[in-house]
């Protein structure tokens, strides 16, 4: 492990003790993990060959991956697991805009990804992370620009920098409809729940985790009493002294009528002063006075917890597990690297990738039980990773009626495949289960069928280069199996493995023919634990 660490740039200053109990993955498998995390696809055979021969090339490929445009989609997927904005339903539905059902998925995913795309853009352009709460722009695709009050520079397609035209302040994600359509408020709640969401997402401080008892506040039985209690009752003030002043800065986003398109798609600058008068407090962020929403973003960026939260967010995403107090030393080291890089995220990612926790593939003898139970030496691919890796390998994408079936739960299989729905499934599945295995099976079968249909006998095959008439025992057949295993698993297959797959091929071929046999073998390789995990 020490050798591999030394090859990578920007390692944290010291490896804490817990990391000393970890053994790094072999270089080809580590390259595979890096590629899947940063690009969502597998490394090429040539790249695997190269790092197998010279592990020092890991650093070279890591830098390539960090500048790969596919990193942007990966950042969106990783951030979605924590920001939970890629939900399937918003208060405003696709039909409220006159869209048809074929556009439902695009509608929902576009909205949910708006704040995620903004954050990914900040990373990709090497801007400091603070820009996520100070940017004077958002990100939008054609659909959002068509629906919402946004300018149109013209001449561009896909997700690009865009500006709202309704006078909302320059506070990055805090001025996105996508964030506030997910974290809604009402004429009674008046943005208090949005403050809790902002606190959790941007400072990793969960206000709602504070122990409270409403029983200590007998005045709650009437509305006036409630308003007074949140300012005077000790049990309420503990939270609301923080919540009310921040909520007072968010009144431009408070709808006067719920479920109304005009109300919730548009910012209302004229309502800003109502916050202080309605809630009876001056706007502030955790005690720091601010002058409305325009100063909320900078105040959050100046909150010491903001940078720490960014480190925690990306570490947790790339470690594939929650962080805890036992990670403090590791996170401190990463925080130093992040601050030294002026809060730019790519150097932070570089530092995370250089650490033993990311690279872990096993444990030293005598590793303690706590470490063994906590560290993810093998990580299930997320639904996003499965989808992008399989599409890249085979050309198969699982869509139905306009829905990406591994990215929704209305018609699709996102949660059943281990994904996060942003509402009541908030963490990716870590270990296989029944529905996961079935989703993986169906994906593998369809992808295998697709690639066999397209590749066998083709002049420019994507994955299968074997002659259509090759049989077990033929050099070309055996070489094809070895090549598949190497490409898909980043592990040289054993003779026993080759025998198993060849036996499967022969058994299926005997009744269903060679194409079905290759379909079965490719599907099994795609279902293999060495493929579905990293």
């Amino acid at each position: 492990m020490i050798a591999v660490l030394a090859l990578l740039a920007c390692a944290p200053a010291a490896a804490p003790d817990a990391e000393a109990q970890l053994v790094a993955l072999p270089a080809p498998q580590l390259l595979r993990r890096m590629s899947l995390e940063l690009r969502g696809v597998l490394p090429s055979t040539e790249q695997l060959d190269a790092v197998e021969a010279d592990p020092a090339l890991l650093a070279t490929y890591q830098e390539q991956y960090l500048t790969d445009p596919r990193l942007e989609d990966r950042l969106v997927a990783l951030l979605a697991e924590r920001w939970h904005t890629r939900v399937d339903t918003f208060d405003i539905r696709y039909y409220d805009y006159g869209l048809d059902m074929e556009q439902e998925f695009a509608f929902e995913r576009s909205i949910g990804e708006e704040p995620l795309r903004l954050m990914a853009h900040v990373v990709m352009t090497e801007a400091p992370w603070s820009e996520i709460v100070t940017a004077d722009y958002t990100m939008a695709n054609d659909l959002l620009r068509e629906l919402w009050p946004m300018d149109d520079a013209g001449g561009q397609t896909g997700w690009r920098v865009t500006h709202y035209t309704d006078g909302r302040p320059a506070v990055g994600v805090l001025a996105t409809n996508g964030l506030w359509w997910r974290y809604t408020t009402s004429t009674f709640n008046l943005s208090r729940s949005r403050v809790a969401a902002a606190s959790q997402l941007l400072t990793c401080y969960d206000i709602l985790q504070r122990p409270i008892s409403f029983s200590a506040t007998p005045a709650l039985a009437d509305a006036d009493g409630t308003s007074t209690a949140v300012q005077e009752q000790d049990a309420c003030v503990a939270c609301h002294a923080t919540i009310e002043p921040a909520a007072a800065a968010m009144f431009g986003f408070v709808p006067m009528v719920s479920y109304n398109v005009d109300e919730v798609e548009t910012y209302h600058p004229e309502r800003e002063p109502l916050g202080a008068s309605t809630l009876g407090v001056s706007p502030a962020w955790y005690g720091t006075p601010i002058d409305g929403l325009a100063e909320l973003g900078p105040a959050i960026a100046a909150d010491p917890r903001f940078a720490s939260c960014a480190v925690q967010t990306f570490a947790s995403a790339l470690w594939r597990r929650p962080t805890g107090p036992e990670d403090d030393a590791r996170l401190d080291a990463l925080r130093v690297a992040f601050q030294d890089a002026d809060q730019r995220v790519r150097p932070l990612i570089r530092a995370i990738l250089a650490g033993g926790t990311f690279q872990a593939g096993g444990f030293v003898d005598g590793a303690d039980d706590v470490t063994v139970q906590r560290e993810r030496t093998r990580r299930l691919l997320s639904a996003d990773q499965l989808e992008s890796a399989v599409a890249d390998l085979t050309g198969f994408t699982w869509e139905e009626r306009g829905f990406d079936q591994l990215q929704n739960d209305d018609l699709g299989y996102r949660v059943l495949a281990g994904g996060v729905n942003g509402e009541n499934v908030l963490r990716p599945q870590q270990d296989p289960g029944l529905t996961w295995s079935l989703a993986v099976r169906r994906l593998a079968e369809a992808a295998a069928s697709t690639v066999v249909t397209n590749d066998l006998g083709a002049t420019t095959p994507r994955l299968l280069t074997v002659p259509a008439d090759a049989r077990p025992g033929d050099a070309a057949f055996d070489e094809q199996l070895r090549a598949l295993a190497w490409r898909l698993h980043a592990v040289r297959p054993s003779d026993d493995d080759l025998t198993t797959w060849a036996a499967l091929w022969s058994a299926v071929e005997a009744t269903d023919g060679a194409r079905a046999a290759w379909t079965a073998v490719v599907a099994v390789l795609l279902r293999d634990p060495a493929f579905v995990a990293e």
Binding site: D88, S193, D206, Q209, I212, S213, F214, S215, P218, A221, A223, G362, F363, E375, T377, W398, E399, E400, R401, Q405, D409, G412, V415, G418, E423, N424, R427, Q429, Q430, D431, P432, G433, L434, T435, S437, A439, R441, R442, E445, A446, S449, T453, D497, T500, W501, A503, L504, S506, A507, V508, A510, T511, D512, A516, A520, V524, R527, P529, A530, A533
Partner: protein, 419 residues
């Protein structure tokens, strides 16, 4: 290994390290069925007869109705509710006045089902599923509704919002949108499963500790669960697809009962959103709750009939093996708002019946401000020196009822409820 050997091994599950033979004697675990009325019900429509209390808006045409030791809110609009309690009060325990400690739906759901507002806990049914004495293919079957997990995500089997699990099982998930895709034949699929299982067995022999072993063992178990489900017979998950908004949840309850009766599942969840959609969350027109309760009890009427007539694993009625909790993530404010609705309230009620439940019992009570009164856990009666009921008390009680260590819930059980 030849084709015949592969097929034989696949069929017998011999390649699967944790397969459970169908003929092995199976100890009886008590099971749990959760019926979640998501949205926040109004206890003053059923559980809290606060007549004469100036701090509570009660229905004009309702009155208190006592049957056995239970006193409920009765209304001419809810004849099924009254008749249900007439018939079944001896088996029913009501818990009044427990405090969820939030007034937001998302947080309340998590608190109700896990006892904590954070995302690092498993919900009560998942914990119960994880402590079964035998392997079941559908440890925690979620027909509809939320499931919160940290450690036991792989034990939750969701049918999907629109019945996606049956489509995955049948292959329609792929064959419907891609009619030209050639799915493997039945034999080829079995051969593939056998080859994969053989590979898992090989990898399992040398897997490192922790996540690597969890991956291999979990995968092997998942394959085994699929095989058990397909071979189990008698359970048709397709009939659990969500029905029309006004169609209720009868079909889902039937699937849940099939799974529990067949010992395919140890816990199941069915979400009842109220009459014709998400109508428990009545910030206006609170009177609609009456329709929701009436319809809910029509479902419970069918459910009780089924539980009493279906035969459980031990040969007795299924009702003696399944504990049922009917709950909602929050209550509603005691006073009607300006829109004729009621806003969120942190104190609420739930109802238990079935296996292990001491019926004809009301635990706890509301005070004049509709806060829950402290309770003596042994008697269930209000007691100023008792404890304020919180979701962990509900969780601990469920654990105790089904034979799981109540300490796992982080609170003492309400022993008064234990028969």
């Amino acid at each position: 290994m030849n084709r015949r050997e592969l097929l034989l091994m696949a069929g017998a599950g011999l390649l699967l390290p944790r397969a459970v033979g169908a003929d092995e004697p199976r100890p009886t675990d008590r099971k749990l069925l959760v019926i979640l009325c998501q949205g926040g019900w109004d206890p003053t429509r059923l559980f809290n007869p606060a007549f004469g209390n100036p701090n509570v808006s009660m229905e004009a045409d309702a009155q208190a109705y006592t049957v056995g030791n239970l006193t409920i809110v009765d209304s001419p609009d809810r004849p099924t509710v009254r008749s249900w309690f007439d018939a079944h009060h001896e088996r029913v325990a009501i818990i009044n006045g427990f405090e969820v400690r939030s007034v937001t739906h998302e947080r309340c759901l998590r608190l109700l089902l896990t006892g904590t507002g954070g995302d690092d806990a498993d919900d009560w049914p998942s914990v119960i599923a994880a402590h079964g004495s035998v392997q079941r293919p559908l440890p925690y079957l979620v027909l509809s509704g939320p499931a919160f997990n940290a450690q036991y995500t792989n034990l939750v089997v969701r049918v999907g919002e629109n019945g996606q699990l049956p489509d995955l099982l049948s292959g329609a998930a792929v064959s419907r949108p891609f009619p030209n895709v050639d799915l493997p034949s039945t034999d080829a699929a079995a051969l593939a499963d056998a080859a994969l299982a053989e590979r898992l067995a090989t990898l399992g022999a040398t897997a490192g500790p922790g996540a690597e072993t969890a991956l291999i063992e979990g995968y092997a178990r998942a394959l085994d669960d699929v095989r058990m489900l397909q071979a189990g017979g008698g359970i048709d998950l397709a009939s659990g697809e969500p029905e029309s908004l006004c169609g209720g949840v009868m079909g889902q309850l039937q699937v849940a009962l099939d799974a529990l009766q067949g010992d395919h599942a140890r816990a199941a969840m069915v979400q009842y959103l109220g009459n014709c959609g998400p109508n428990w969350d009545q910030h206006s027109d609170i009177a609609h709750q009456s329709i929701c309760f009436e319809e809910l009890f029509q479902h419970l009427d069918m459910l009780m009939d089924e539980l009493q007539t279906r035969v459980g694993v031990d040969g007795g009625p299924l009702l003696d093996e399944v504990t049922v909790i009917v709950c909602s993530e929050m209550g509603r404010h005691p006073i009607e708002n300006e829109h004729g609705g009621k806003d969120h309230w942190t104190h609420t009620s739930c109802m238990l019946f079935g296996a292990g439940v001491r019926g004809n019992l009301t635990v706890g009570a509301y005070d004049d401000t509709t806060f829950g009164r402290p309770v003596d856990l042994a008697s269930g009666q209000p007691d100023g020196a008792g404890v304020s009921l919180l979701p962990p008390h509900i969780g601990a009680t469920l654990f105790a009822l089904v034979g799981v260590d109540p300490a796992l819930a982080g609170a003492d059980p309400i022993t008064a409820v234990l028969a």
